[in-house]
Symmetry: C2
Subunit: 381 residues, 2 copies
């Protein structure tokens, strides 16, 4: 046999990443204690110690979402896969789904509905504005056969918060299940799954939870589980089929069985991050995000930044701001990264080149980071 070809791999060395301050739309800074958890010794994905840890993760996910849902777990892939988990399991071909779109991630929900063979009813709202419950109620009245209402709680593309409590109340009133995107909200602002009657919700590990990117905590109500178990067509994804995944997470009511190999170290990490959230307390975490947002807001407004979103609907953890007149957006953002190891995010879609998205998520939401950013901006503007 011929010896292996070296192709183009000569000269590659171990990757030593720079030490950044992450103040963009995610990932956020990770607390050293949580980062350390990542590199603990590997155990098997069916090891009894690991299974016991997964049970704790489940309880911690329930705490973070304020729910007693039995089907609470972490999808072994990023938030986009958490979104897909909700749609492929709950949408059956032909199901009518009302999709609210007020930013990039509502658009992604629409993609999911179409690819599942659902019939989307799209409600468009201006970017930077919340979903309007009145228009949602009109649509629910107009489509009494709608099966699902889907919306984004915290739009990462614009920094706007929609009223999840009211919207989920409407869904229930009109006999729909609700699917909620909480990628950017969980841990940063209240997400009260049981109180608000949310049926299916997903988040991301790398935002206000400040764990390693690549996981998606999800939870499903009893109503949602009933629909999943009674599906007439199989779930189109084998990897994301909750009928199978819930067996491995021990939420299926029977013996645990192997489904896929869990991302062992990433789960150590989110266990530690969720534990830190519980130790701090959800209400303290929400208050910390709020207070740091106020600190940032005051500083930015002094410097001539203007917020995209009306005060009432602003996410403390994701600040979408127009730059002061005459500032070169891309150049300044790249300079911050290059010279100060400081990451802030640019705009998406029509907002590209016009706004910055400044994240104060999880471990990033501390005054030393806010002050550092403001100091840098005072110097550079």
């Amino acid at each position: 046999m011929e010896l292996p070809k070296d192709l183009h791999v000569q000269g590659i060395a171990s990757f030593q990443p720079p030490t950044r301050r992450l103040m963009g739309p995610g990932p956020s800074d990770i607390h050293p204690r949580v980062l350390e958890a990542l590199s603990r010794p590997t155990v098997g994905h069916l090891d009894p110690t690991f299974i016991a840890m997964m049970d704790e993760v489940k309880s911690l996910v329930q705490y973070a979402y304020q729910t007693t849902n039995a089907l609470s777990m972490v999808v072994s892939a990023p938030g986009s896969a958490g979104m897909e988990t909700c749609f492929v399991n709950l949408v059956e071909p032909g199901d009518k789904v009302i999709v609210c779109r007020n930013g990039v991630f509502g658009g992604r929900m629409l993609e999911n509905v179409t690819r599942c063979g659902g019939t989307p009813i799209v409600l468009d709202f201006e970017w930077g504005h919340p979903v309007d419950p009145n228009r949602v109620e009109e649509a629910l009245k107009e489509h009494p056969d709608a099966a699902i209402l889907a919306f984004v709680h915290a739009e990462t593309s614009t920094g706007v918060r929609s009223d999840a409590q009211t919207l989920c109340g409407l869904a229930k009133q009109y006999g729909c299940l609700s699917i909620v995107d909480a990628v950017t909200s969980l841990g940063g602002i209240p997400v009260l799954v049981d109180d608000w009657g949310i049926d299916a919700i997903y988040s991301g590990s790398q935002k206000c939870l400040s764990a390693t990117p690549g996981l998606s905590p999800v939870t499903f109500s009893k109503r949602a589980v009933r629909k999943i178990k009674k599906r007439e067509s199989p779930v189109q994804s084998w990897f994301l089929d909750l009928n199978l995944v819930m067996q491995y997470w021990g939420s299926g009511g029977s013996k645990r069985s192997y489904h896929h190999t869990a991302p062992v170290h990433a789960l150590y990490c989110i266990h530690e991050a969720l534990l830190m959230l519980q130790e701090e307390g959800l209400d303290s975490s929400w208050e910390r995000h709020r207070a740091q947002h106020e600190r940032l807001r005051a500083g930015l407004e002094d410097l001539g930044f203007r917020f995209l979103v009306d005060e009432e609907y602003r996410l403390p953890q994701l600040n979408a701001v127009f730059l002061p007149e005459g500032t070169e957006e891309v150049g300044l953002r790249q300079k911050l990264l290059r010279e100060y190891n400081l990451e802030v995010g640019g705009g998406l879609g029509d907002l590209a080149g016009k706004i910055w998205r400044i994240g104060l998520m999880g471990h990033t939401a501390h005054s030393d980071k806010v002050d550092f950013l403001l100091d840098v901006l005072r110097k550079e503007l």
Copy 2:
């Protein structure tokens, strides 16, 4: 607002996993250098330093698979999602797919074909035996309209190796694309994508590559990419749609664009693991796996173990063995874990309770581990 409920999270502490020796069917032991890479500082998934590292990962994946395929990358989820990536992108509704099933993972391929709306032609082979190329050729002749041939190179459930070179040659001869499962083979035995003419192949990070579980290196031939780009129906998974993913991995020929948040730390880890494989050299790695298998085989046979698979088709990295007459399988396996921190795997399906699967994968394939296992067995049998 009511204060957050504590639910059942009292008494949860940081998880401190035991230090195991992992000699099951995966995950395998991780080299300290690779484990350390996991917890390097977080950078953003669009950070220029991270993008440069992704380019290196791509080159290292090409080296591991011995291919110059432009579409070589790492799926942000475990091997099962790597499998699904191949099927959802290559199988269009109505496509006839010949699926060879000689163990658990061939059965999973069949699940994928059905869920993609493909028409499966299933060829069953006795577990513990390889796929028979003669029967595959008969099926290819009988179904001249077949679009794809799918088989498992290294069956993790039985430890058998099928002849990927011959099978992919047949696929090409009869005008089919080939999809190959190399979850357990990559790095442990030759996998020569270009020489053998493989069209789509996936592996797992946690087997012979000894990186953190949760990632799947994949590569696709030009023929496969052509089929993906010319699909009439959209790929049913948004998260795994290569038309979108390849933009982020810079294999789409145009500017990089955001698709999902990459699992940043896991990619540091597989970068380091693939780099170590390249430093050792593929041929040295294959030889090390072979030599450690011989060492293990001699010791096991002395103790009265018998191999499930004929010598010619055995995987050095996954040894499926019947226990000596009268040994209590489950009890001994649990004792090894409990008293020696030593993990070996049990059997799956009909082989449950009958065989062990002893892995010598990646960093586990060293003589100190083989000798430790044999010493323990000599004491306990």
